[in-house]
């Protein structure tokens, strides 16, 4: 789960990472009250997961209440690259002597956390990585050993940070690593990490991705939300424990296993169709889960046909068939379904479907055949 800037900063503050003092606000009144409490000048910052907010008008400096009000009014509700601003973060404006970049990422390739530091902060770090890779100091940390003080020094010296901040930069890197481990993040990024004119070090932005699988250990993290990123179908799916990603097409997809579902999207595309979603019913899906998933798929008004592509392992095809039958009983779908069942208990599943004789439901023997059929039934995607 990607956190909003202010959620990340609140996490940082809990672990002692220095951040400017600030308050979140969901209304203009809250924003002005926060600004008054913090003291001017303040930065009024749109809380959306988009790089380059500032250039798009999502960050403004206010030097008095009138300006704070005007900026809050302008930014709240604003659309930034398709995301609506529901929340603001009001924080004391910082004087900046230098802008650095720091991050801890879960490096899958090395199977170890990777810590990065650059003095070229405040800009697109991917561009820096491409144009001037030596400007970013890298260090992998052995997870059994953890981040040592010398790691911080080594990164600071390699990145060429100013001599007087080698120690505090090392210390903040250690803290960021601690946040990464303690909160079970897969990404902790600060851009810019600023040096103030008083030679203090502060995280002026915060980008944190948490591991949803760890939320049973982190109840408070599980409750964090990003209103701007919430799609109604995705929220519905999440509440039902389904892995659902909304896409732009018109063919609803349900499969079991992420790989098979992705492959199904690809095959549908090759057959000339466009998927409306990714939905992995997961391993061992019971009938109720299938019924529930059908509801989520059909809640997307763009869907004109649905493809079930099931290859049973843990998932039993008879359970899938029962779920589909129950869904038809409850929801009475008006769009056609193409169903392909293979694997564990496929014979029973197909038999159940045949007996139920659901209206507008087509069974297909192969994945390719099922894709062709659903594309044919769905017709072209609406604009």
């Amino acid at each position: 789960m990607d956190l909003l800037e202010y959620q990340g900063k609140q996490l940082f503050a809990r672990h002692g990472v220095p951040v400017p003092s600030g308050k979140p606000a969901r209304t203009v009144e809250e924003a002005v009250a926060a600004a008054e409490e913090i003291g001017y000048p303040v930065a009024v910052k749109a809380q959306v997961q988009i790089g380059g907010r500032g250039k798009l008008g999502g960050i403004k400096i206010a030097t008095n209440a009138a300006e704070a009000r005007a900026h809050a009014e302008a930014i709240l509700g604003m659309d930034i690259r398709g995301l609506t601003v529901y929340e603001l973060w009001i924080e004391g404006a910082s004087d900046i002597a230098a802008e650095y970049y720091a991050s801890v990422v879960f490096d899958r390739s090395a199977k170890a956390p990777l810590v990065m530091l650059s003095t070229k902060g405040g800009m697109d770090i991917e561009a820096v990585a491409e144009e001037d890779p030596d400007a970013i100091a890298h260090l992998h940390v052995d997870p059994l050993v953890g981040f040592q003080d010398f790691h911080g020094r080594e990164l600071a010296f390699k990145a060429g940070v100013d001599a007087d901040v080698v120690r505090p930069i090392g210390a903040i890197l250690k803290q960021l690593y601690h946040v990464f481990v303690a909160e079970e993040a897969t990404l902790v990024e600060v851009n810019p990490l600023i040096i103030t004119p008083e030679r203090g070090v502060r995280a002026l932005d915060a980008k944190v991705t948490l591991d949803n699988n760890s939320f049973f250990r982190h109840k408070e993290n599980a409750e964090l939300r990003d209103l701007s990123a919430e799609d109604p179908q995705e929220r519905m799916a999440k509440e039902r424990g389904l892995t659902y990603v909304k896409l732009d097409g018109n063919i609803g997809i349900l499969g079991n296993g992420a790989g098979l579902v992705m492959s199904t999207l690809d095959v549908v595309k090759l057959a000339g169709g466009e998927a409306a979603n990714f939905l992995d019913a997961g391993g061992g899906s019971k009938a109720e889960a299938i019924t529930s998933a059908v509801e989520v798929i059909l809640a997307n008004p763009r869907v004109t046909a649905v493809l079930f592509n099931i290859f049973g392992g843990i998932t039993r095809c008879d359970e899938v068939a029962r779920g589909l039958i129950a869904a038809f009983a409850q929801i009475k779908p008006t769009v056609p379904f193409v169903v392909r069942l293979d694997g564990t208990n496929d014979v029973e599943g197909r038999k159940l479907l045949a007996e139920a004789d659901l209206p507008n439901v087509y069974t297909e023997a192969t994945m390719d055949g099922a894709a062709a059929k659903v594309v044919e039934l769905a017709g072209p995607a609406r604009a």
């Binding site: 699988n213 760890s214 992995d280 994945m367």
Partner: protein
């Protein structure tokens, strides 16, 4: 021959007393796998359809000679169970559990690597099937028969799909290995491809990858340098939008790396044939094995 599991596999299942654990363990036994024990803390002394249950892995090793573990415990306890199996000296640990926290996986992987006495397959994988010899995990064995195609895959159901198409074309399998799609798989494509290269029965290797990470790219390098047998690959996720998590924790496309196009290109650049659909993979396999024969 086969790799990883065979007639000498002596399986212990962690979480055997759970409903899924029981179901799949008995299914594995029905297939012919030697299931020698189960582990459920606090249920030592019980049995599951005649399979003795122990409180600890250590007992399953000392009393029943278990050498392979299947992990079926819920995600919050799975890494602990993997580490317990490792500490008990079990050589092969196959973790089926899905949804293990990434940092838990990292820790389990790091400990196993440090001590160097066990191999972990998974987590979040369907297991391993050596047709005609042993089945450990949730792969539906009825679709597969013994043969000369080795399959290694990050995705469970996709494996069955590909294996099924191959089977319908008359091919059997030496071993089918699901390495899982999680961020920190215990075993990578490279490891399994190397085993297939050394396995005399395997004449063709099928590699089924997906978006995210760089395991396919590393496999491409390895294959070019070390593998003389023909390899056919499939990559899922061409139509996945960048930046979205697609179910598998592993299946994240971030930036330009980890995308399906790049992976396919990397493999093709090293002479690996890449099928666009599972069906095409089977067709390529037929072509190559025909050529190889």
């Amino acid at each position: 021959m086969s790799i990883l599991i065979d007639e000498n596999t002596r399986l212990v299942t962690a979480g055997i007393t759970g409903s899924e654990g029981t179901f799949h363990t008995l299914r594995n036994r029905d297939y012919g796998t030697k299931v020698v024990a189960g582990v459920t803390p606090g249920k030592g002394g019980q049995n599951v359809d005649g399979i003795p249950v122990f409180n600890t892995f250590e007992e399953s090793v000392t009393q029943q000679g278990a050498n392979t573990a299947m992990i079926f415990v819920p995600p919050p306890f799975a890494a602990d169970s993997i580490l317990e199996a490792e500490a008990a000296g079990i050589e092969l640990i196959i973790a089926i559990t899905e949804g293990i926290p990434a940092h838990d996986e990292l820790r389990a992987y790091s400990v196993i690597k440090k001590n160097g006495r066990s191999r972990l397959i998974g987590p979040n994988c369907p297991g391993i099937l050596s047709p005609g010899k042993a089945n450990v995990g949730i792969i539906p064995a009825q679709f597969f028969k013994p043969g000369n195609v080795g399959v290694v895959s990050r995705s469970g159901t996709l494996t069955y799909q590909i294996g099924n198409v191959l089977a319908q074309s008359g091919f059997g399998n030496s071993t089918i290995v699901g390495i899982g799609g999680d961020p920190v798989p215990g075993t990578d494509f490279v490891d399994v491809v190397a085993m297939f290269q050394d396995d005399p029965e395997t004449e063709l290797i099928v590699l089924s990858g997906e978006i995210g990470g760089d395991a396919e790219e590393k496999a491409a390098e390895y294959i070019a340098a070390h593998v003389t047998k023909p390899v056919v690959a499939y990559i899922a996720g061409f139509s996945a939008p960048p930046g979205k998590t697609m179910g598998h924790a592993g299946a994240i496309v971030s930036g330009s790396s980890g995308g399906a196009e790049a992976k396919a290109a990397a493999l093709e650049a090293k002479g690996v044939k890449v099928g666009k659909t599972p069906t095409e993979v089977a067709e390529l396999a037929i072509e190559l094995l025909g050529a190889a024969a």
